[in-house]
Every structure is written in structure tokens, then in C-alpha cells.
């Protein structure tokens, strides 16, 4: 089937073909998801090189675990689940390093950014208003379990239900975290 023909297929149909060994179908899924996964990882990890590495790792994992994908599941949920877990694992490892993440200090009005690679990204700087820059910086200061919910909801446009499935937490918890995170962001922006 040509690339143009495959473009009308659903993710799950492509995944089924990839499961059967069709590498082109897998490549199509990579094209559909690479920017989304990179964005997710970048907003979670702040560092481009690391974000790209995690996005690649997510696809490596997807490729190797294709046989365990159940076609009745939503492919996007499965991919986001893998990528979010990788981001959170990586953040845990970063936390054990001596450089502190800014979470607690920032909550108390301390310096917003303490990690060298947390500087705004060039693309953000070039095209973003100050409010947008501030809000991106504020998102970066949220604890990981709150940040991931904000990123999935607002940067990836997932519904409460999808987020609950991706993170394997109850919908009520998704709402609580999202509401608290947005409340915290609002405070940070109003205070600035």
C-alpha cells in the first residue's frame, strides 16, 4: 500500500500491520507521533537533547513491545503511557542527582529555575509573549505528577478519561491534580 493510502488508516490499523511485521506501518506511526512525544518529553524534562532521547526510547519500546499491544486499546493511550512513564522515571533519576529541582522552593516563592538547562528554549523565546514564557516556566516548576497532567491536558489535548488511562489513576485524581496545578499556575502568574 502506498504512503498516501496508508494515511487514511487509523492508528490501531497501522499498529496491527506493524505487529504483522510491516515496518512501513511502524514508520507511519513514528511520523504521526514523533512531534507529540517530543513535545511531551520536552515539557516534562525541559532539555531538548534529553527530550529527544526519551521520545526515541519510547518508540524503541513501542517497536519491541508491539506484540503486546491489544488492538482494541487506543494506540495513542498506549504510546503516551510509555512516554509518560519514561519521562517520570527520568525525572526521578535526575532528582537523585545533587542539582536540586525547583519544585519546593518555587512553591514558596523562591527562585523559579535552578537547573541550568531550564532556561527558556530558543523557539519559545523568539515567538512567545512574556505571559507565555512565564507560564511555561511556571509549568516547569510544578511537581512531576502535576506537571504531567497539565502537559497531557493542555499541550496534548487529552480528555480527563484519556489522561486517567495513560497515567492509570482514577479520573477524580486527574481532576484534582489538574485543578490544583492550574490554581497554582494562576497564582504564580498573578504574583509575577
Amino acid at each position: 500500500m502506498t504512503g498516501a493510502g496508508r494515511s487514511s488508516l487509523m492508528d490501531e490499523e497501522l499498529a496491527a500491520r506493524a505487529q504483522a511485521g510491516d515496518v512501513s506501518a511502524f514508520a507511519d506511526l513514528v511520523e504521526r507521533y514523533k512531534h507529540r512525544l517530543f513535545n511531551l518529553a520536552l515539557r516534562m524534562l525541559r532539555d531538548r537533547a534529553e527530550a529527544e532521547d526519551v521520545a526515541q526510547e519510547a518508540f524503541l519500546h513501542v517497536f519491541r513491545a508491539l506484540s503486546s499491544f491489544r488492538v482494541e486499546e487506543k494506540f495513542s493511550t498506549w504510546v503516551y503511557k510509555i512516554a509518560s512513564n519514561l519521562c517520570i522515571d527520568r525525572l526521578r533519576r535526575v532528582k537523585r542527582r545533587p542539582v536540586p529541582l525547583a519544585d519546593n522552593h518555587a512553591e514558596e516563592g523562591g527562585p523559579v529555575r535552578q537547573v541550568p538547562d531550564a532556561a527558556p528554549l530558543p523557539a519559545d523565546l523568539a515567538e512567545t509573549s512574556e505571559l507565555k514564557r512565564n507560564i511555561l516556566a511556571a509549568v516547569e516548576t510544578l511537581p512531576a505528577r502535576y506537571r504531567v497532567v497539565v502537559v497531557l491536558r493542555h499541550f496534548q489535548d487529552l480528555s480527563y478519561e484519556e489522561i486517567a488511562q495513560v497515567l492509570q489513576i482514577p479520573i477524580g485524581t486527574v481532576k484534582t491534580r489538574l485543578f490544583r496545578a492550574r490554581e497554582a499556575l494562576k497564582h504564580k502568574l498573578e504574583g509575577s
Binding site: K34, F38, Q56, A123
Partner: protein
């Protein structure tokens, strides 16, 4: 009429359009009468809109090539999308 603390949690759900019709009506009734909750809603909406409009960044050009290198699988021939070919033709 509902009191402000009862309204706070509803404002967020209102933003996400996940309230029931009855809840929405109760909320809107409160909002018409309460300036504080209205400002609060506006501030929350501004936060949510700014998040939604944050710039999307793109993975690097050679993302897919590097991925297939790591996979140790030959990358299938990719025919560029119609849009990509058009853009290429028009030089944009």
C-alpha cells in the same frame, strides 16, 4: 444561591466543559451576581488559554533516521506527504 467556596471547584470543570447542564446553570447564575468568582474564572481561563497556545516544538529533522539506526532496522522508503511535496515545489 450557591456560596463561593461551593463554586470554586465548579469553575475549573466549567472551563473544561464537563459540568452537567444543571450545574452550569447554577454556576452561571452565581457568576452573574458575583464579581469575585467572575474574575477568578477569567484568570483561570487566561491561564488555560495561554497553556493551550504555547508554541509546539518539532523533533529534529533526522529524528526518524536516528531512530531506525538505533532499532537496527532498515528505514522504509518514505514518500513525502502531498503537503510536503507542495511546500517543496513552492519553496516554502
Amino acid at each position: 444561591m450557591a456560596k463561593c467556596p461551593e463554586i470554586y471547584p465548579l469553575l475549573q470543570a466549567y472551563l473544561d466543559a464537563t459540568l452537567s447542564l444543571a450545574e452550569e446553570e447554577a454556576l452561571e447564575k452565581h457568576l452573574r451576581a458575583c464579581l469575585r468568582c467572575r474574575s477568578r474564572l477569567v484568570a483561570l481561563a487566561r491561564t488555560a488559554n495561554t497553556l493551550r497556545d504555547a508554541p509546539k516544538v518539532h523533533a529534529t529533522e533526522d529524528f526518524t533516521r536516528r531512530l531506525f539506526d538505533r532499532l537496527g532496522v532498515e528505514r522504509p522508503e518514505v514518500r513525502p506527504s502531498l503537503m510536503a511535496r507542495l511546500k517543496n515545489m513552492l519553496g516554502i
